[in-house]
Symmetry: C2
Subunit: 398 residues, 2 copies
C-alpha cells in the first residue's frame, strides 16, 4: 500500500541530499537533486544517442516497434529512450541483419537512446520449452519450434550486434513465489553469468552494460546480490525479478529494501514496472528508470490511465462524455478527442481507437515520471507523493 512502510524502514534514512556525477566511456550520470525525505533522485543520463532526464519511463518496442505507435508518435509522446527485446530481435529479423542495416537505431529509425534486455527474461518465461545448463539455455522459438541456445556470451554477441546504448546482463529470473533454494540457485548463476557478460562485451567504448540484482522476495538474498553485482564496476544496475507473480506489497517491500543499497552515483533501473502508482512509489525509493508494456497492452484492452484511476473506455457511461480522458494530460489524444469519440472507436474495434489510447497511456506514464522529476528538482516531492497517494493510490487496481 501507498504509505505502509514503517518508519524504521524509511528510505530517507538511507539516502543523501548531495549531488554527484559519474562518468564511464559510454555513459555518464549526473544526480541533479535528491529528495531528503525519500531519497528520490532527479538526474541526467548521457548516452551516445543523447541525454535522458530521469526518472524516466521507457516505452517497450518488443519487435523493434511499439504496439500501435509509429516512432514519430512515440517521440511525440515524450519518449526519451525506448526498450527493445534481444530475444525477439535475435529470432526475427536476426541480430546479423540488424547489424547489416547499421544497427537498431538505423534499422527502426530511432535516433534517441535505446536499451535492450538480454533475452534472459523471455527465455525463462518459456517454461516447458527450455533447458538450463551452466553455459546458458536451450529453448524452442515461441513461434517456430527450432531449438536455439543463448547464454551470457551469446547475449553479448547479440546485443553488440544490435547496438543499443545500454545493454543488460544475461540473468536468470525465477517466478514468484520461489523457494529460497530456487531463488539462491538462480541468483548465484546470474552472478557467474555476469562475469562472462563483462568479459564478452566487446563494445565498452560505445555501449554500457548494466548488471541485474536478483534474489526474489528474500531481503538477505537481495543484499547478497547487490554485493556480488556491484563488485563489478558497471555503469548502472537494475533490480530484476520483480512483478513476476508476487503481490504489490511484496514488490514494494523488495524495491524499498534493495534500491538504497545500490551505488548512489549510478543509474538504477527497475525492470518491467509498471503502473503510475508503481512508478511514483519506486521513484520514492530512489529508482531512476522504468519499462513496461502496460500502456500499449492496456490500450489494446480499451483501458486508460487517468488521474481518476483506470477507465474502461467501452463503458456505456462514456457514450456521451464529450470531455477528454484527462483534463491535465498533455497528449494529443486528450487535446483532440473526447471520450465519446474514443468510446465509439473502441466499441467498433477501430484500430485508430487503440492507437489513440496507446498515445495517451504512453504519454501518461512518461509524464508521471517527469512530474516526479519536477517535484524532486523543486524540493516538493514529499508533498507531491503524499497528495498522489491520498488522492489516487486506492484507485489503482492491485
Amino acid at each position: 500500500m501507498a504509505t505502509s512502510s514503517n518508519s524504521s524502514n524509511n528510505p530517507a534514512q538511507t539516502t543523501v541530499s548531495s549531488v554527484s556525477k559519474f562518468d564511464s566511456p559510454a555513459l555518464s550520470y549526473e544526480v541533479q537533486a535528491v529528495c531528503p525525505w525519500s531519497g528520490a533522485r532527479a538526474g541526467l543520463l548521457t548516452t551516445p544517442h543523447g541525454v535522458v532526464e530521469t526518472p524516466v519511463f521507457m516505452p517497450v518496442g518488443t519487435n523493434a516497434a511499439l504496439r500501435a505507435l509509429t516512432w514519430e508518435q512515440t517521440a511525440d509522446c515524450g519518449a526519451q529512450i525506448v526498450l527493445s527485446n534481444s530475444y525477439h530481435l535475435y529470432l526475427r529479423p536476426g541480430h546479423e541483419l540488424i547489424k547489416e542495416a547499421g544497427g537498431l537505431h538505423k534499422f527502426m529509425h530511432w535516433d534517441k537512446p535505446i536499451l535492450t534486455d538480454s533475452g534472459g527474461f523471455q527465455v525463462f518465461s518459456l517454461d516447458a520449452l527450455r533447458k538450463i545448463t551452466e553455459e546458458g539455455v536451450y529453448f524452442k522459438d515461441h513461434k517456430g519450434g527450432k531449438t536455439h541456445f543463448i547464454g551470457p556470451k551469446e547475449s553479448m554477441v547479440i546485443q553488440n550486434a544490435i547496438g543499443p546504448d545500454i545493454m543488460m546482463a544475461f540473468d536468470e529470473c525465477v517466478k514468484n513465489p520461489a523457494t529460497e533454494e530456487e531463488a539462491r540457485a538462480a541468483m548465484e548463476r546470474t552472478h557467474r553469468w555476469l562475469a562472462v557478460c563483462q568479459q564478452e562485451h566487446k563494445r565498452k567504448h560505445d555501449q554500457s552494460l548494466f548488471g541485474i540484482v536478483q534474489g526474489s522476495m528474500y531481503e538477505h538474498l537481495r543484499e547478497e546480490s547487490v554485493q556480488a553485482v556491484t563488485a563489478y564496476d558497471l555503469p548502472g544496475y537494475a533490480v530484476g525479478g520483480v512483478a513476476v507473480g508476487e503481490d504489490r506489497r511484496t514488490i514494494e517491500r523488495i524495491v524499498l529494501h534493495t534500491t538504497p543499497l545500490l551505488p548512489r552515483e549510478k543509474p538504477r533501473y527497475l525492470m518491467g514496472v509498471g503502473t503510475p502508482w508503481d512508478l511514483v512509489y519506486a521513484i520514492r525509493c530512489g529508482i531512476d528508470m522504468f519499462d513496461c508494456v502496460s500502456p500499449t497492452r492496456l490500450a489494446r484492452h480499451g483501458t486508460v490511465f487517468s488521474s481518476r484511476g483506470r477507465l474502461a473506455v467501452k463503458n456505456a457511461g462514456f457514450r456521451k462524455d464529450f470531455g477528454p480522458i484527462d483534463e491535465t494530460c498533455p497528449c494529443s489524444t486528450c487535446k483532440n478527442h473526447s471520450l465519446a469519440y474514443l468510446h465509439h472507436l473502441v466499441r467498433q474495434g477501430e484500430m485508430a481507437g487503440l492507437m489513440l489510447l496507446a498515445i495517451h497511456n504512453v504519454t501518461f506514464l512518461i509524464e508521471e515520471a517527469q512530474n516526479c522529476r519536477k517535484a524532486i528538482l523543486s524540493g516538493t516531492f514529499e508533498d507531491y507523493f503524499s497528495r498522489w497517494s491520498s488522492a489516487r493510490g486506492p484507485l489503482e487496481p492491485q
Copy 2:
C-alpha cells in the same frame, strides 16, 4: 487498357480549354486549367471548411476514422478532404449523437472538408438483408440484426444531422453485370429519389447535395441519367455505379463516355475508385474527385503502391532491401523507413507495419492526383499521361 480508346472517342473532342467559376451557397468551384488534349481539369473547390485543390483523392474513414491512421497522420498524408459513411454512422454511434457532439467535424476532430455518402451503396450491398420499396429500403444491420429503414428523406435527415460539407443523394446502385431492365429500374428510382432528396435537404446554406448518375454499363442509360440528374441545379455531380463488378475496360468505357456529358463548370466525382491507374485515367476523362478504401485495405494485406507497380512487402526479396518503398514518394514512411524494416514488421504482424504502409498508400494516391494537377496547370498533362501509361500501366493488376 491504358491507351485503348479509339480516336473517335477521344475526350479532347468533347472538352474546352477555357476556365470558369461556379458559385452556390455552400460551395464554389473554379476551373483553373483544362488540358486541351484530354479535357482533364485542375480546379479549386471551396467549402465551409476550406479549399480543396482538385483533382483530389479523398481517403475514407468509414466509422469516423481511417483504418490504422489518426486524423493527425491523415492530414500529414496531405489529405484535404475525407469521406465518411452515413450508413455506418447512422447505426453507430447514431446521427443524433454526432449532432449532439456538434457535428462530425467536431466529433472526430477533423476541421477540413468532409463528404458523406448517402448510405445507399452500403444498404444495397446487404443483398439478402434488404427489401426495396418506392419509399426506400428496409434492411438489417450487418452487425446487429435489428431492422432499419432508410429512404431519400431519411438519408437527408441523417446527413443534415451529421453535417458534412458535401452530402450525396440516396441512390440505387446495381451490381454489374446487370440487365438493361434492372439497370433502368434502379436508375429511374434514383431519379425519383433525387427529387425527394432535393426537397428534404434542409441545410442548403452550409451543405451541398451532389446528384449521382447511374445507368450501369449502358451508354444510352448513362446519357439519360445525366439528363435527368443535371435537370436539378445541384452544386456537383457524381458518376456512381462503377467498380461494382465490371472489368477495368468497362469502367474506362463508361467513365470516358459519361464524364464529358456533365456540366463543365461544376465538380465531378467518380465514386469508389480506386487505384493509381484508375485515378490517372479518370482525371484524363475530366473527373475531379475520387474516394476509395483501397489504400488502407491493401495496407492491411501488406501491399503497397509504388512507381514500380504494387509490391507485396512480405516477399522474401525485401528482407535485406534497405531502400524505401519508393524513392519519389514524399510520405514519412518512405522518408524514414526501409523495405527491410517494413518487411520485418509485416512478417511479425506488428500493427506499426500496417500503419506505416497505410501512411504510404494514402499519401501515394493523394500525390498521384496532385501530380496530375500540377501537369494540368503547367500544360504538360498529355506528356505526363503518356509517360505514366507506357511506364506503369501494364504493372497495375486488372
